[in-house]
C-alpha cells in the first residue's frame, strides 16, 4: 500500500465538494433544461468520485451505472423531446413563489437539525471502516445483503418487480383491428407457399 499524505485526500474532498455545489447550483439556475440535466449528471459523477475517496468503490460505480448510465439518459431523452418555452414558465413564478420558499425553508431546517444534532454530541452514524474488508467492499456488501438484511432486500426486490409490472400494465393498450406482424409466421414461411414455379415453353416450335 502506498503511503498517501494526509493533506491530499482533503484537497480532493474540498475541491470536489466545491465543484459539486457549483454544479448543483447550476442545475437550478441554468436557462436551458438540457444544460440542467447535464449539470445533474456532473453532480452524480462528482458524488461517485467522493465515494471513491471513502473507498466505497461498489457504491461509486453503481451510482454511475444506474443514475448516470440509465436514469439520466432517459431523463435527457424526455427533456430533449419537450418544447420548452422559457417565457411561459416564468409566468407562474409569482404564483408558486410562496410554495417554493416554504419547501426551501423546510429543507434548510432539516439540514440545520442534522448540524445541530452533531453539535450536541449525538452520534448519528459511525463512519464505515471500509478498509476492514479484505475482499473489497463489493463482496462485503453482498454478504451483508444476502444474510443479515435478506428480508429487507427481498421485499425491496418484490416492490420493484411490482412497480415494473404496474408500469407495463399502465402503458399496455390492446387495440382492436391493429395489423401486427406475426414473427413466428414470418419465420415459418417456406418458398413453396409463396412462389409457384410454372414450366412454360419459351417459344413455339415453328
Amino acid at each position: 500500500m502506498q503511503q498517501i499524505p494526509e493533506i491530499f485526500p482533503l484537497i480532493l474532498f474540498y475541491g470536489w465538494s466545491g465543484l459539486l455545489i457549483a454544479a448543483a447550483v447550476g442545475v437550478i439556475t441554468a436557462r436551458n433544461p438540457v444544460h440542467s440535466v447535464l449539470l445533474l449528471v456532473l453532480c452524480f459523477v462528482i458524488s461517485a468520485a467522493i465515494w471513491l475517496l471513502l473507498r466505497a468503490e461498489f457504491l461509486a460505480v453503481a451510482l454511475v451505472l444506474v443514475y448516470v448510465g440509465a436514469v439520466m439518459v432517459l431523463l435527457l431523452f424526455v427533456v430533449m423531446m419537450l418544447d420548452i418555452n422559457v417565457e411561459r414558465m416564468r409566468e407562474g413564478l409569482t404564483r408558486y413563489a410562496p410554495l417554493g420558499v416554504l419547501v426551501g425553508l423546510l429543507l434548510a431546517a432539516q439540514l440545520s437539525s442534522v448540524w445541530w444534532l452533531r453539535r450536541s454530541g449525538l452520534e448519528i452514524a459511525a463512519p464505515a471502516d471500509s478498509l476492514a474488508f479484505e475482499e473489497g467492499n463489493t463482496q462485503a456488501l453482498g454478504t451483508l445483503l444476502y444474510t443479515e438484511h435478506l428480508y429487507a432486500f427481498e421485499i425491496a426486490g418484490y416492490i420493484l418487480l411490482l412497480a415494473i409490472i404496474g408500469a407495463i400494465t399502465l402503458t399496455l393498450r390492446r387495440r382492436k383491428g391493429l395489423r401486427v406482424q406475426q414473427v413466428s409466421e414470418q419465420v415459418a414461411v417456406r418458398p413453396e407457399s409463396r412462389v409457384r414455379l410454372v414450366k412454360m415453353k419459351t417459344e413455339r416450335d415453328e
Partner: protein, 354 residues
Amino acid sequence: MAELLANWLDFLPPEAIGALIDLVAIVAVTVVVILCVAYATYLERKVIGFMQLRQGPNRVGFRGLLQPFADVLKLLVKEIVIPGRANRWLFLTAPVLALVPALAAWAVVPLFPGFAVADLNAGLLYLLAMTSLGIYGIILAGWASNSKYALLGAMRSAAQMVAYEIAMGFALVGVLMAAGSLNLGVIVEKQAGGVGNWFILPLLPLFLVYFISGIAETNRAPFDVAEGESEIVAGFHVEYGGATFAMFFLAEYANMILIATLTAVLFLGGWDSPFAGLIDRQWPVVGILAAPGLFWLAAKTFLFLFVFLWLRATFPRYRYDQIMRLGWKVFIPVTLVWIGVEAVLSVLDIGPFK
C-alpha cells in the same frame, strides 16, 4: 521495466514514482489502442474490399499500409464547421464525451498475466458503467447539431443502446456467477488451462448474446440504424466534419476493439493459451505455444474484430422494430433463463459451475 524506472527515478518520493508508472501505463495503452484503431480502419477497408472482389486501399505506401495516416492527416487539417443555430458548447463537447468512455474502459482490461492499468475489484461493474456512458456523446451530438437527421439518429441510437445494455449486463452476470469475481484478472485466471475451461461452452447462449449485443451497442452493421446512410444521411454525426468527426470515428472503433477484447477476456480465457491443457510447457519448441501472453489475447481479439467486419459485409441493415424485438423479447429472456439454469447447476455442483 517498472523496477528499472523506479531505480532511475529514486530521487522522487515513492507516491510520485507510483503515479508516474501509472501515467506511463495509461499513455502506452492509449497509444496502442489508437494505433489499433487506425489499422482497424485499414483492415475493414481491405477485408470488405476482398469480400466484394475489390482491391481496397492500395495507393499510399506499400499495399496502402500508410492509408490510415493519410486519412488522419486529412481529417485533422479540415476545417471544423459549426452549424449556425447549433448549441456551440455542447456541439464541441459531444465528441469528447463519446471518446473518453471508450478509452477509459480500457483501464481495467487485463492485457497479459498480472497487468491491467487499474486492477479494480469491481472491474466488471466499472466496464458496464463506462460502456453505458458512451451514449451521452451520441445523444448530445444529435441534439446540439439542431438538425432533424441528427436528432433522429440520436433517438434511434439511444433506444437501441438502452435495450441492448440490459441484455449485455445480464450476460455479464452469468460470467461473474461462473467466475465468482468481478475482477477481470480473476475471471481470466478462472478460465486458465485450455479450451475446456473457457466459459464459452458452459455459457454459450450468454456468449452469443454478449457479442451480438456488443455489435448493437457499438452501432455497427447490421445494427447501424443510428447512422443509416440511406435513410438519415449519417445519423447523429451528419453535421460533424474534420477533427470532431474523427473523434466519433475513433470512439466507434475503440469501442469495437474493446467489445472484441472483452468477448475474448470474458468467454475465451483472455491471455490464456488454447493449447494450455494439451501441450506441456516443458516440451521443446512447441511448448511455447502453451504459454499465456498478450499474443493470445491479440489473436482472439483479431478473430472477433474480423467477425465484426464479416457481418458488416454480409448482412443487410435490421429494421428498427426488429432490432427492438430482438433486444427485448429474445435476448433478455435468453439471458434470464440461462442465469437461472446456471444458478441451479452451481447449487447442485454440476458441470464446471462450482
